[in-house]
Subunit: 282 residues, 2 copies
């Protein structure tokens, strides 16, 4: 099912670790080699899905014919790694990544040349991070965006994504970044702002299910978000403005006791929240 | 375990229906009588936790010594019902409610006089509504706020809340309303604003787990929220302002490419999101 013989995972955290686990669940029997900081070795080996581990970035000699090199790191690190790696890899190696934005990464790959690159982004994750948070079922049912020219490399990465339980969705880098600005980056900023506004503001409110679900994302690590915000700032700006407008609209209506205006916003919101499961990619 | 012999539930929706189911789970064997719109009868009887149903508001003759009358309706309906009911009930009947704000309701009870009233608010719920969404375990582990003078009625309602699986927390109406403004009303408005801002704004974003959790509350019915916002407008205003400030702070920092300012907001947010499970009532 997985059309590769040997997979190198560079960055074995939540996503890279889940890739390794999901590969094994899919019956992939070939070697999986992990690369990460030396300090990650224990946790990565504890996954029992990685055959060997190196506490350093991969070099050309690590790759062989028919390999897949998956770079699963924060966006900035992916940009640097593929710039270094792509020109050095032997023929037949396909490189993919799991970065949360795609324009900066695909541009770096185009500049680097060399091995074929297929940008990837599984729409799955967690506010937790590290190999200890990895799960074999993390990608089940999730959209898995793929950016790259038609051809065998993209087809093989799509087939692998399917084997991991995900649903491949081919797009281009600009459309991807516009969509995730609304699907992922805006919700993150809203959760972060909500939690920040509650921090230190008097007695802690009770952790109701509603508050818990609204502040869950706020626990996401800044190290990951720094690169995402830097590389997608232009696309986040308009959705963030619309969110600020909607919230200000609620504030004005509330202050004026304008039930009709409040109801109108609740109805727009209910229409979005109640849309069918089949609407658009998930 | 439940120190009442006969329970009248006025309003058998999500909360009233879950009360009935949780009473049965707790081994309560006395009669449970449901009152609601005639159209609700089928769904209420399908719960198999209500012995009889009346498609009308209860009257004094429905209550007998040792009874508990629980009013589980939107805040405005509770205010009207307890104003009508309290002066008419026979001695020995305790009245409680499950309204989401407590000042307006407790003031109406004080004005009405008559039967002893214990304000209640289980910090549990769902964006779904109606008896079909009721669950026997809805209150498990949840804080259950109680507002009323010390004494037997409050103690008996607290014991009942404990039997339902909840954790009774005695407070006063003003402190309650201030706390829920931040724990419940602010998260609701933020979810509503986020979903409203995404509605109709181009291609539907994929329904990622993060987006789903951030817009889940936005499906909550306006009919419930109209009364909550009307009766707690003053307490919601300041937390809503702080949220707007935090979001505007993120927008400015993003526009300026000011990573240090962004990081500072993420750190405040992470502190709140990562606070211990034991901090404050849940």
């Amino acid at each position: 099912m997985v059309p590769f013989d040997r997979v190198l995972i560079v960055g074995v955290g939540l996503i890279g670790g889940s890739w390794a686990l999901a590969l094994r669940r899919a019956g992939f029997a070939g070697p999986v080699l992990g690369f990460d900081e030396p300090s990650a070795e224990g946790a990565v080996r504890a996954l029992c899905a990685v055959d060997d581990f190196a506490g350093r970035p991969p070099v050309a000699a690590d790759a062989h014919d028919g390999d897949l090199v998956l770079v699963a790191a924060p966006v900035g690190a992916i940009v640097r790694l593929i710039g270094d790696l792509l020109p050095l890899l032997p023929e037949g190696v396909v490189v993919s990544d799991t970065g949360s934005t795609k324009r900066a990464i695909c541009a770096a790959a185009a500049t680097a040349g060399g091995a074929p690159f297929v940008g990837g982004h599984p729409m799955a994750g967690s506010e937790r991070s590290g190999p200890g948070a990895a799960r074999a079922d993390l990608f089940d049912g999730a959209a898995y965006f793929l950016v790259g020219p038609p051809g065998e490399p993209r087809d093989r990465v799509a087939e692998t994504a399917r084997a991991l339980g995900a649903r491949p969705v081919v797009t281009d880098a600009a459309a991807h970044d516009r969509l995730v600005a609304r699907a992922s980056h805006l919700p993150q900023l809203v959760s972060t702002a909500l939690a920040a506004s509650l921090d230190g503001a008097g007695e802690l409110p009770p952790r109701t299910p509603g508050l818990a679900s609204m502040t869950r994302l706020a626990a996401s690590p800044w190290a990951v978000w720094a690169d995402i915000l830097t590389t997608n700032r232009d696309e986040i700006s308009a959705p963030l403005d619309r969110m600020l407008e909607a919230l200000a609209e609620l504030r004005e209506a509330l202050a004026a006791g304008d039930d009709e205006a409040l109801r109108a916003v609740f109805e727009r919101a209910g229409r979005f929240a109640g849309r069918g499961e089949d609407a658009g990619p998930r």
